[in-house]
Each structure stands twice: as C-alpha cells, then as structure tokens.
C-alpha cells in the first residue's frame, strides 16, 4: 500500500510503488485534469507540483512521491494561481487545450519563484511544455499579465 498526499488529502492506494504518478492520479483517483501526452517526460502535459516544484507525473514513480505534497490542476490555489487563471481567460490563451493544464502548472511555479519574469525566464521555465497549437505567444503574454496583476 502507498499513501500519497494529493491536494491536501491523504490517499491510500494499493499500487506498485514503481507505477507512474500520472497513472495513479488519472486511473485510480479520477483526477483527469492532468493529461497524458508522451509518457516520457518530453511534452509537459502531465505537469503537477511536488513540494511546490513542477514535475512530470508520467516520469515520477509513485514510491518517489510518498511523503511529499502533490498538487494537481484540480487543487491548485492561492493568489498566483488566481492571477494565472484570470490572465488565461482574459487573453483566451487556450486553443485545443490539451497541454494547458501543464502550461498553467509550470507558469504558477515560475511566478511563485520569479514574480516579474523576463521572456528568457519564461522560455527556461516552460521549455518542457509543448503546445502543438502554437499558443506560446499568448502563454507568454498571459504570464506577463499575471505578473503585473501580482505586482
């Protein structure tokens, strides 16, 4: 048995500790806001927060997440998250939307650490989040807007 703290709640799961965290989130706990993209930590669709850092849940083994605080898109809260959500809506960032949960999770980590990020900071922090619709320009604009809102 494995105990995971997800969005502030302890979940006891009967799973192999080597199971990818994403499998546990989506298939065992029905937290399907976190997406499966590549399964190889190449695309960022599965990004969650582990102890406040962005992590690719397809590549984090459940056993490695025990004792840590896991936050998914369903559970992310606070003024940074709210500013990001508002900016995303104002600018209408989303196109197909599949990658956006991961984009938003990475954007929140960036803004929490760097309240006034440069374009280079955004490129560095979101380099692992791929968007096949090419919404990168709007993502960057939304992060800058959220930063102004938080200033």
């Amino acid at each position: 048995m494995v105990t995971l703290n997800i969005n502030g709640t302890e979940h006891v799961l009967d799973v192999d500790p080597r199971m990818p965290l994403l499998w546990a989130l989506r298939d065992r706990l029905d937290l399907v806001g976190t997406k499966f993209g590549c399964g190889r930590a190449q695309c960022g669709a599965c990004t969650v927060h582990i102890d406040g850092e962005a992590a690719r849940s397809c590549s984090i083994r459940v056993g490695d997440a025990v004792g840590k605080s896991i936050t998914t898109i369903e559970g992310v809260t606070g003024k940074v998250a709210q500013a990001v959500q508002k900016a995303w809506q104002d600018i209408d960032v989303v196109q197909c939307g599949y990658c956006q949960s991961g984009q938003i999770m990475s954007a929140i980590v960036l803004l929490a650490a760097k309240p006034a990020p440069t374009d280079a900071d955004i490129d560095s922090a979101l380099a692992g989040n791929v968007c096949r619709c090419g919404t990168y320009v709007r993502i960057r604009k939304a992060i800058h807007q959220a930063a102004r809102e938080l200033a």
């Binding site: 080597r18 199971m19 930590a41 690719r56 397809c58 590549s59 760097k114 560095s124 380099a127």
Partner: protein, 221 residues
C-alpha cells in the same frame, strides 16, 4: 531568446571522439609496450592504465553531464530534450529542475527517464566538454577541478559513488560504460600508484569548435 548555434555540416562529433579514443589507445600502447616488464609504479604502466580510465570518462554516460550549459543525452550525445539549463545550483532552472523528471533512487522503467542518487549536472569546476584525453587527465588529477580529491579519494569516487555507478546501470536504451567497473578501479589503482601520469606527449586537441558540435541542438534547423 535562445542562441541558435550553427550546425557543423562536415564533422560528426561522435566520430571525433571515436578517433580520439583509438588514437589515444594506440599512442598509449606504443608508449607502454614494455609495460609488462616495467615495475608496477612505472610511468608506462600508469599511462597504460589511464588509457582504460579515458575510455570510461569520455563515454557518454560520464561526459554527457560534464558539460557547460546543459547536459547531452543518449549514446549519440545530442542536446538534452526537453531543453534544460544548469541553473544556479547545477540542478536546473526554475520550473525545469532535474528532479522534476529524474528520480533520485532509480531509473524509470516506464518513461525510460534515467535516475540515480545525486542526479545533477557536474559542477562547472569539473567541466570536461571539449577536452582532449590529455587535458582531461590533467583535470581529473587537479584537486581544484576534481572536487578536492586526492588519489585515494578519486579511487573511492570511481569505485563506490552511486551516481558514477549509474554508468553501468543506465537503463533501457542507453549502452553501459564498456569497461567493467572492477577494471576501472584496478586501472585507477595503477594510475594513482604511478603518480597519476598524463599523456602530455600525445597532442590530440579537439578542433576549437568541436565542443560546440557535441552539443548540436535539434531545434536549431
């Protein structure tokens, strides 16, 4: 904005390293052909042993993370995908930390992302990118560039460090270091006992831009 590095059209970086490795082994064999009759602590024996060490430390499993700005990946030494940066603590930039994907315990058999204790880009002081085997030898024995290690500490590091050990258990899709770890330890003992000689006489500097070529970026087409 990202700097786009021009591709080198005519030089295969893996080819350079293979050529260097062969040249080094041949040169060291010539230097040490009488090594069998020489005392174990002789310079010839030491140089011969360094030939074995050089095969290990120039292997992608070691060299891929002894890079300047960002690690390389794979047996073909391509730039790390996704793009990552060294960051202030050798563990990545904000939002793209090493542990966001890499386990500190083991390789991930599902995603094939490698992992091991102390997973990290080597510190800049231990930069091996673009060094010839002779220059790498000098770097290896210089306490200012090897993590303040003397010969005994170097042997300990090569023989017991868990991140070094990952080189022999790199997970699916990556070739392990071709020299058994026990052979590396044996070679280290011989090299240290011989006073850690370096093949200064073997002049094999890489072309000045070969180091850059090793980091060919797949997105810079």
């Amino acid at each position: 904005m990202r700097k786009h590095r021009p591709l080198r059209p005519s030089v295969n970086p893996s080819g350079w390293l293979a050529l260097l490795a062969v040249a080094l082994v041949v040169a060291l064999l010539l230097v040490s052909r009488d090594a069998s009759s020489a005392p174990p602590t002789s310079r010839a024996n030491g140089l011969s042993a360094f030939g074995t060490i050089a095969i290990v430390v120039t292997n992608p499993r070691c060299l891929n993370c002894h890079q300047a700005d960002r690690p390389l990946q794979g047996d073909d030494r391509h730039a790390h995908i996704p793009r990552v940066e060294r960051g202030p603590d050798n563990l990545g930039a904000v939002g793209m930390r090493c542990t966001g994907c890499h386990s500190l315990h083991a390789n991930n058999d599902s995603s094939d992302v490698p992992g091991a204790p102390n997973w990290s880009l080597a510190p800049l002081s231990m930069l091996w990118q673009g060094l010839s085997p002779g220059a790498l030898c000098q770097a290896l024995k210089d306490p200012a560039r090897n993590g303040k290690r003397n010969g005994a500490a170097l042997m300990e590091h090569m023989g017991k460090d868990k991140l070094v050990g990952w080189g022999w258990n790199p997970g699916q899709g990556r070739a392990p270091v071709p020299v058994p770890r026990s052979e590396l330890v044996k070679a280290m003992k011989t090299w240290v006992a011989a006073g850690m000689p370096c093949p200064d006489e073997v002049v094999m500097n890489l072309p000045s831009d070969a180091a850059g070529a090793l980091g060919k970026e797949p997105w810079s087409h």
